[in-house]
């Protein structure tokens, strides 16, 4: 089975077949979006009257200008804040000794298994009482909380992988822990921070349930939530739906294409070390 000839052939065949299985649905979507709005599309087929008009129509019908901007606001709020908190926590867990460390870490890791459906109902009522629902801040705060277990775990791994002498040497020079963290450790972990930032961007952008629940004002919705509502309103207009979907996924697709190395290594390493 692992003989060179068979395996040499099996690799390309398997990878090609699976790539096609992934690409065909996306190709169907793209071709459908090239039809004028309202066209009855039949499967994977070249459009009879190819046009880009549908993208414009979907853009204005769903108000994507606003939706994409709302999503961007959420992501720009979440990512720096979550990175900052995760870095501090990972630093403490990796380099410091304190009472309750194991328990606190376990408490945090519990968040990796808890489904967020289980917290979303009271979260909505609590944030509503604070007057925060229908604001980007609600989503930002909830996401930062949700992102802490993975982030603290990830940063701790990165700091532990650095030689302990690095911290000790800096401490001997009289540097305080704050200086050690930002002048010594963080510069060594830049690629890992980039990866974590990209993952946070992706997860923040893609978040659906929380966005749906916490932001119900149509003018403040995020792009995926807007797409969810768009599906309800245009369920039979395939070209419009397809164009709207492509608009929502384009930013993450570009991010994935530009930073694929980070995504692959982040998802593989981050996951497997768990």
């Amino acid at each position: 089975m692992r003989g060179p000839d068979l395996a040499g052939l099996a690799g390309p065949v398997v990878m090609t077949v699976f790539s096609l299985a992934v690409l065909i649905p996306f190709a169907s979507l793209l071709l459908a979006a090239l039809n004028p709005p309202g066209t009855v599309v039949s499967g994977l087929s070249w459009p009879a009257h190819p046009t880009l008009r549908t993208f414009g129509a979907a853009w204005s019908a769903a108000g994507f200008g606003t939706l994409l901007r709302n999503s961007a606001v959420v992501v720009l709020g979440v990512v720096p804040l979550a990175l900052f908190c995760a870095t501090l926590a990972g630093f403490a867990f990796a380099t410091m000794e304190f009472r309750g460390r194991g328990a606190l870490f376990a408490f945090l890791l519990l968040g990796l298994t808890l489904p967020y459906e289980a917290a979303v109902v009271p979260l909505y009522y609590d944030l509503r009482d604070l007057g925060l629902t229908d604001t980007p801040l609600a989503l930002v705060l909830a996401l930062v909380g949700l992102f802490m277990p993975f982030g603290a775990f990830w940063m701790r791994q990165q700091f532990l992988a650095l030689p302990a002498e690095l911290v000790e040497a800096a401490a001997l020079d009289g540097a305080g822990s704050w200086t050690v963290l930002w002048r010594v450790l963080v510069p060594c972990c830049r690629p890992a921070l980039t990866t974590l930032g990209l993952l946070y961007t992706l997860w923040g952008w893609n978040q659906f349930l929380l966005a749906l629940v916490l932001i119900q004002d149509p003018a403040k919705r995020t792009a995926p939530a807007g797409l969810g509502f768009f599906v309800g309103a245009h369920s039979v207009d395939v070209p419009m739906l397809a164009a709207a979907t492509l608009i929502v996924i384009t930013p993450v697709l570009l991010l994935h294409l530009f930073f694929q190395r980070h995504f692959l290594s982040g998802m593989l390493a981050g996951a497997v070390k768990g």
Binding site: A7, E117, P122, G145, V252, Q260
Partner: protein, 303 residues
């Protein structure tokens, strides 16, 4: 997951004696505050709310364990939990099995070479699941690509509106899960196989092991960590899924594809049964914790 203390302690002991650093709590404060306020406390609040009958507007009344009795007796609730467990087959077992088999066949070579293919295989992981849902709504439609493919191979009699079919909608939604997860599993396992010492394979072959024995004796044990992670991630996705079902079928037709995530949302935000929704949420969390524990037991390093 094992607790982190052992390694760090050893590291500390190699240097100076362990010194307690109260400043650590300051570093932890922002992360723990955010996590406690927006994840842990709401979750405890869920448990509390699950003991009440509450419509979300008027004053709630104490219900004791009444909502839990409803979870265990209401046909829709039970159907949702059953569907979630059934999705484990589609989201977790099938992708892991297929991924393992194909990773063994490609021998990890796929991992190093096919950068383009790996990027493509990760696409379903990268795009929002809402978008995945919309894509497959269209794939499964009467005029969609799935029926087109069936007609093309002479199986035109099987065509149907898949997501509107009481028998097939569930399988159709499950297959979307398989589509999302298989690429991830394949890539994870290929990367894992590359890390297995090739001398183990040589030794197995010298001992006269065939491909199947080699797979069982070398590949499977070598991928233990990857299998655990892949199973954990995919099983959680199966049990806690919301986006795909919400967009493709909304739980229908009837309740034939309803899952806990969708039912919790529906009960709490449209049916005014917040207590019941919370009881279901607690049941779901318990189920997930048990399954994740079982996975880590089953894939634990044997002594």
């Amino acid at each position: 997951m094992s607790l982190p203390t052992a390694r760090a302690l050893r590291r500390h002991r190699s240097g100076t004696a362990p010194r307690r650093r109260p400043i650590a709590y300051l570093y932890l404060a922002p992360a723990l505050l955010a996590y406690t306020a927006f994840v842990a406390l709401p979750w405890l609040h869920t448990i509390w709310l699950s003991l009440f009958t509450w419509d979300g507007v008027t004053l709630g009344t104490w219900a004791g364990l009444g909502n839990y009795r409803q979870v265990l007796s209401d046909p829709t609730m039970l159907a949702a939990l059953e569907h979630a467990l059934g999705f484990v087959l589609f989201f977790a077992l099938l992708p892991v099995a297929v991924g393992l088999l194909l990773a063994a066949v490609t021998g990890g070579r796929g991992g190093r070479r096919y950068r383009v293919a790996r990027t493509v295989l990760f696409l379903p992981q990268v795009v929002p699941l809402v978008a995945v849902g919309v894509v497959w709504r269209w794939m499964y439609a009467q005029d969609g690509t799935v029926n087109q493919a069936l007609r093309a191979v002479g199986l035109g009699s099987l065509t149907r509106a898949w997501l509107g079919d009481f028998t097939w909608a569930y399988v159709a939604v499950g297959a979307v899960g398989t589509w999302v997860m298989t690429g991830l599993c394949l890539v994870v396992f290929q990367a894992g196989i590359q890390k297995i010492d090739t001398s183990l394979y040589e030794a197995a072959r010298l001992d006269g092991a065939g491909p199947v024995q080699e797979f069982r004796a070398v590949t499977l044990p070598g991928l233990r960590a990857e299998i655990r992670v892949a199973l954990t991630v995919t099983v959680i996705a199966a049990l806690a899924g919301f986006d795909v079902v919400y967009v493709t079928t909304g739980g229908g037709p009837g309740n034939s594809t309803v899952v806990p995530g969708v039912l919790i949302y529906r009960l709490a935000f449209t049916d005014g049964q917040v207590g019941a929704a919370c009881a279901l949420a607690v049941a779901l969390s318990t189920l997930i914790c048990l399954v994740v524990l079982a996975i880590s037991r089953l894939t634990r390093e044997k002594p």
